[in-house]
Amino acid sequence: MDVHFVVIGAGGLGCPALLGLHAAGARRVTIIDDDRVELSNLPRQVLFATADVGAAKVDAARWSLLERTAVGADAPTLTTLHRHLDPAQLPALLDELCGAEPCVVLECSDSPRLKFAVHDACVAKGVGVVIGGVLGWRGQAMAVDPRQRDAACYRCLFEAPPPPELAPACATAGVVGAVAGALGHAVAMLAVGLAAQLDSQHPDSQASPERAPPASPAGTCVNFDLLSGRVRQIAPAPRPDCPTCRRNFETGPT
C-alpha cells in the first residue's frame, strides 16, 4: 500500500494503532510524539519494554516495529519526529509530510484541543484523517475524508472541543487500558480503509478500472462502550452550516 501514514501520539492509542498499521502492511509511517517511555506506560503501551524506559517513545516504537518485520521481508520506512506539536505549525507540517504523496493522518494524542486542530488542518489541506479518543470504558473513532463531499467531518458531528472543566482528563477519570488497545486498532483499520480508497484512485493503481472502488469509512464515527459490549455506528449527513468543511468546499484544499 503506497500511502504514507502519519501517527500523532505514540502512547496508549498510538501504540496499538501503529501495531495495526504494521500488521496491515503499511510501507511508510511517520511517528510524532514528544514524550519519553516511563515504567508506568508499559502495561498498555505494548510496543515498549523495560529496557526502553527513558528513551523517546518515537524511537522505541520504531525499533519495536522493525523487530517485528519478518527476516528477508522489506522493512517498512519508519520516520520519527520527536517534538511537541503546536497547532500553528500543523499546516506547514502537513505540507512537508503530505504535500507530495497520498497521506492519511491518525490522531492519537491525549489533547482534545490538538485533536480538533489536527482535524481542521487536515480538512483544510484535503488530507484524510482518523480521530481517536478514549475515556473510561468508552472509545470513539471517526474517519474523515475531505475529498468526499457527501461524508461528514468531525466538526459536522461535534462543533467544538469540550471545555477543560467539562472534559474529565484521562489522568483523573481513568481509561481501561484494553479499551485504548481496541480503539487504537479501530483507528488503524479506519485509516487503512481511507488509504484503500486513495490507493484505488492513484494513477498507478493496479485496481482494475471496471471494479468499483472499495467502500470508504469516511464520515463514519464508531462508538464503543466496552463495559456493556455495545458498539454504535453514527454516520451523520454533512451539516450544511459546518464552518470546517463548508470552507473546504468553497475554496478547495489549500
Binding site: 501520539g9 502512547g11 496508549g12 492509542l13 514524550d35 506506560n41 498498555r44 503501551q45 492519537c108 494524542s109 491525549d110 489533547s111 482534545p112 485533536k115 480538533f116 480521530i131 481517536g132 479518543g133 478514549v134 475515556l135 473510561g136 470504558w137 468508552r138 472509545g139 470513539q140 458531528l157 461535534f158 462543533e159 467544538a160 472541543p161 469540550p162 467539562l166 472534559a167 474529565p168 482528563a169 484521562c170 477519570a173 481509561v175 485504548a180 462508538n223 462502550d225 463495559l227 456493556s228 454504535r232 453514527i234 451523520p236 449527513a237 451539516r239
Partner: protein, 92 residues
C-alpha cells in the same frame, strides 16, 4: 416513557445507571424532566441559554436532532434517546 442512554461521564448523576426512563413530548421536555430527576445532569448537556452544548449530540433512534427539529423534536414512548459527547481524551 422513552429510554435515555446515559454516556459514561454523566453516569455519576444517574446513580451509575446507563439507561433511564424519562417522559416528555419532545427533547426539550425530556431534558427538563431528566434534570428534574437527576439534578446537575442538565447543565452538562445544555448551556445556560438552554442550547445543547457544542461537543454533545443527541440522537433519537439513529437521527441527529439537529437534522430533525432540534429541541422541539417529538419523542415517542418507545424511542431510544442517546446522548453522545465527543470523547477526545487520550493517553500519553
Amino acid at each position: 416513557m422513552a429510554t435515555v442512554r446515559i454516556p459514561t461521564p454523566l453516569r455519576k448523576y444517574t446513580e451509575g445507571k446507563d439507561e433511564v426512563a424519562v417522559s416528555g413530548q419532545n427533547i426539550r421536555e425530556l431534558l427538563d424532566n431528566l434534570d428534574g430527576t437527576y439534578a446537575g445532569i442538565g447543565e452538562r448537556i445544555r448551556d445556560d441559554k438552554g442550547a445543547v452544548r457544542r461537543f454533545v449530540n443527541i440522537f433519537v433512534a439513529d437521527e441527529d436532532i439537529r437534522f430533525l427539529d432540534g429541541l422541539e423534536t417529538p419523542v415517542k414512548d418507545a424511542d431510544e434517546i442517546s446522548i453522545i459527547p465527543a470523547i477526545a481524551g487520550g493517553l500519553r
